[in-house]
Subunit: 422 residues, 2 copies
């Protein structure tokens, strides 16, 4: 008997019929003797419907007061889901109770629409589990110290599930989703992409951060920080498949580096076309210039991804970085008004038609020349590299969006990812 | 400058376009110098949509655990409304903030799906008003002492608005609805029904309790208990009509009996076809019999309306009462299982095809013979009376449902309600 957390995405919760299937699956696990905590997302389409109405009423504004109200509205999608799932579980003969984020409580900071979890009180949930109940907790949301409802941003339910699993010291957190695991790359782009049975936490972190949409990056960070074993698996298997087979399916994100991993230099190819590139040309190169440029961006709660500052010529340098495309216009305007005048930059250039392609692998640590191999593969395809960043276990390049599929396919083949590990 | 509470029904909140109109109307009042608290209902159809999904998952059950989950689900409709209205107010240039019931908090008992308000903490709202904000509060819901979300039952947003007005000692509580006031009877049944400019609190209480759907009865009780001046008015006037004209429109529910009221013996004809009649025949007539019968009904949280026990013959009597039609089957079953065996009753008879018709008027206090006049009017129409109850200011009869319109029209005419008060 173990404490298990299940997380179900919006598609799995998309109709009462599907919710009934989720309830039957959870009941199967509970009847096998596990203590069950379930974190469902809002029914698919619901968050968009709710925020769509808000947008009709206030097309442009982005004040903190508005964002607080967006959280009031968007958080209801998950609240409906937990209530419906609890009812479906009761109809299956289980004892079940649902909680909104504020009821647990899941305490967050006050950054509305992209809050961060600070603390989860496990007392209430633990008492319910001890009383034999299945506990259903809203994903995506929490409550700040002033009692305002917050949300964690898109995909936040993954983070909620992992955070709950960490707080409850769960045996495993199972993320049921519409794919059956983590692949070497997106099978829609490369037909012979392979499912990985295990992936290291660090690789998964890079895959997630680089646009592999399977898991939200913060959920992986949380899992790493608290060493929560995390499994990504399909919610489209029949609910009554053998529980032992189900428990071993999908992709397990592990914290131990086993031999098999060592053998594969590159585990996967990630890509991302959600970003936009911004360059400030001819910035006066003096200490503090990066902060001068990115400080106002950070203050506006805009996440920056790749940052490049090259060596300077004649005391001037070009400074480039990428942001999410949704933040592109806002960032350009911010720079034009607040940054351009004080940096001495000669020009501000934005480009939303870029993509980022990355090779990720723990094996890169002990193998030299992997990055240069990547550059040569791209060069052979005639693809120009606009930006490069590297870390211990990944190398990313920013290229023209139109070459994305070509780059991913070429790299997948060049690093033998279509072959099972030897 | 006064503190005013506005309440808007689901139809008024039915689309983003209508929410925008509500925001413009509220902004008009705020700009006129009033401190504004607004209590909107869920968007029309939303509560039914939400509870419909719950019903698909659990068609029959009525456990407390299920009802708790229904409240989790249903309460989200109002939460979406307050968020959207706050955003619309912000778009109008107002400062606005929304609160769910638990955030105020609006404290209730734990009777899920029909909870009662116990206390409202006004500190948070008062601080916001002092800071110049319009405060938007969810109707229909609260939170119990254990932090569970509760709802007040259908129409509960009226009660929320009045309770908030009482807690805030508001100057007036304006209930915007899809009718333009309280009528002598339902204009859909009697074409020359007249709108009352004022009605006493006690008459309104009877009208509401007798099925006049303008206001929920508990809201009128609250208004009476805390002497909250209550105005029912139309939400379909243009938002930009003159505020002084708007402030005098509709029907004011007053606490002073003025001369005009004294002149009208009967103020209105109410009716109700939501009830069902249940009779236990040949009950052994001994002390405590009423409690023996109705105790289990009350414990099952079923409201009983009319209760009749007639004189006994040979130590046996017939005991009849009415309940809401939704509770009819459940009550019949309860009586069959728990009550019939212990009362010695010879038979249990139920009839859902009844209606209740009532004449209501403060003037009845000082005029004898009003009730007998009513019986003679019904007799002239050949309508058989099945049950009679009276209070100081109303007389109600239970009759066959099919005679309802006939009875209402005849009484409306007989008591000169089609004539303006002299």
């Amino acid at each position: 008997m173990a404490l298990i957390v299940h997380k179900y995405g919006g598609t799995s919760m998309g109709s009462t019929e599907r919710i009934r299937s989720v309830a039957k699956r959870v009941a199967k696990w509970a009847r096998a003797g596990h203590q069950m905590v379930v974190v469902p997302s809002a029914m698919s389409g619901e968050t968009n419907r709710l925020l769509g109405m808000a947008k009709e009423l206030s097309p442009a504004a982005t004040t903190p007061e508005l964002q607080r109200e967006l959280d009031m509205i968007a958080s209801t999608g998950e609240q409906v889901s937990v209530g419906l799932l609890a009812i479906a579980l009761q109809a299956e003969g289980m004892q079940a109770v649902s909680y909104a984020g504020w009821q647990v409580p899941i305490r967050t900071d006050s950054a509305h629409t992209k809050a961060r979890i600070q603390h989860i009180d496990d007392a209430r949930v633990r008492a319910d589990l001890a009383a034999g109940k299945v506990v259903v907790i809203t994903g995506f949301q929490g409550v700040d110290e002033h009692g305002h409802i917050t949300t964690l941003g898109r995909g936040g339910s993954d983070t909620s599930a992992v955070a709950v699993a960490a707080a409850m010291k769960a045996h495993e957190c199972l993320i049921y989703t519409d794919v059956d695991g983590v692949y070497t790359t997106d099978p829609r782009i490369v037909a012979d992409a392979r499912r990985l049975t295990t992936i290291s936490f660090e690789e998964m972190l890079e895959m997630a951060s680089l646009g592999s949409k399977v898991l939200q990056i913060r959920s992986v960070e949380f899992a790493g920080k608290y060493r929560v074993p995390l499994r990504v698996l399909s919610s489209f298997t029949p609910w009554d498949i053998d529980i032992d087979a189900e428990a071993k399916s999908g992709t397990l994100i592990t914290f131990e580096e086993d031999e098999k991993m060592e053998q594969a230099v590159v585990s996967g190819i990630a890509f991302n076309r959600d970003e936009a590139k911004i360059s400030l040309m001819g910035v006066t190169d003096k200490p503090g210039i990066a902060h001068l440029i990115l400080g106002p961006v950070a203050e506006a709660n805009i996440d920056v991804d790749v940052i490049i500052q090259n060596v300077s010529h004649d005391g001037r340098t070009d400074f480039s970085f990428t942001v999410h495309r949704n933040d592109f216009q806002r960032t350009m305007e911010l720079l034009r008004v607040k940054v351009l005048p004080v940096t001495g930059a000669t020009d501000l250039i934005g480009d939303a038609k870029i993509c980022k392609v990355s090779i990720v692998g723990i094996g890169m640590r002990s193998h030299v020349g992997v990055a240069s191999r990547m550059f040569s593969v791209l060069s052979d395809e005639g693809i120009n590299i606009q930006m490069i960043t590297t870390s211990e276990i990944k190398t990313s390049v920013v290229i023209d969006e139109k070459y994305m599929e070509l780059a991913v396919r070429a790299l997948h083949k060049a690093f033998d990812l279509d072959q099972p590990p030897g």
